[in-house]
Amino acid sequence: MSLLQNLDPTLAGSPARCECDCTPNAEPTVRPRHEVSETDEAWGLQVYLPGVAKDGLEFTAEDGQIVIRGRRDWKSPDGWTALYRESADAPYELVLRHDQTIDVEKIHAELKDGVLRVSLPKSAAVKPRQITVN
């Protein structure tokens, strides 16, 4: 998850997306709002996915990228007419690249009230190490 990519989301764009699923993405997706934080131990990722239930969420971490896809659980029932719309029906998709310094085995994710909180522990090699000087 390079800093550059966080600053410019377009850098995380289509080339990476095509590699992961070989069929070109026909369906339009919405990039959800998200926040990235960092501690010595881990990266924290918070993704806002209003309307997504646990069943509609797909989370994959491979080849140095994290892919989060969320499908909205709710569909307007029959007989409902939309008078005014601001939200989109398209599924969410967030692709973030990282520099392989994440311990993929220890990723922990939790979805609550439309917010996905992910903890991405740093692999031992990149954690700051205190070195005692004799």
Binding site: T39, Y48, P50, G51, S76, A82, Y84, D113
Partner: protein, 152 residues
């Protein structure tokens, strides 16, 4: 709110030649954006709110529904009010910042104009997966009475 300040500057709007001289293009552009937004959202957005959230309005034959995307908010921190034909939704989100840095709090509010024939006392709301659905029952239409007059 800043855009309001530009509007009061009517002199420069009426006299473009002078307006160009004393206002930078960026400031003018900002004013134009503000005006577009205010026109587009007139009647839907109350000017007092800082943080907005997306709102959808639906209708079926019995109810009007307002759906608001409010992810990560506690149910206790959502307040829904009906005042003078406006539905106002207030919410605040508290999130834990990285350890030791304490809590961050954001507040959101939005007012939506709703039809007049709503039974205010029967308004209900449900929160699921970060989306608030407010149900506004319609008043039952007073049916026109049919009177048959017997002609003697």
């Amino acid at each position: 709110m800043r855009s309001m300040i530009h509007y009061t500057n009517l002199g420069s709007r009426l006299l473009p030649a002078f307006g160009f001289a004393d206002r930078s293009p960026i400031v003018r552009l900002e004013g134009d954006f503000g005006r577009w937004f205010e026109t587009a959202l007139a009647g839907l957005a109350a000017p007092a709110c800082d943080n907005h959230f997306p709102v959808d309005v639906y209708e079926d034959k019995d109810n009007t529904y307002v759906r608001a995307e409010l992810p990560g908010v506690n149910r206790d921190d959502i307040k829904v009010e009906m005042v003078d034909g406006f539905l106002t939704i207030n919410a605040s989100r508290k999130s834990q910042v990285a350890e030791g840095k304490g809590e961050e709090s954001f507040s959101f509010c939005r007012s939506v104009s709703v039809p007049e024939n709503v039974q205010s006392e029967k308004v209900g709301a449900a929160y699921e997966n970060g989306v608030l659905t407010v149900t506004l029952p319609k008043q039952e239409e007073t049916k026109p009475k049919k009177i048959t007059v017997a002609v003697k």
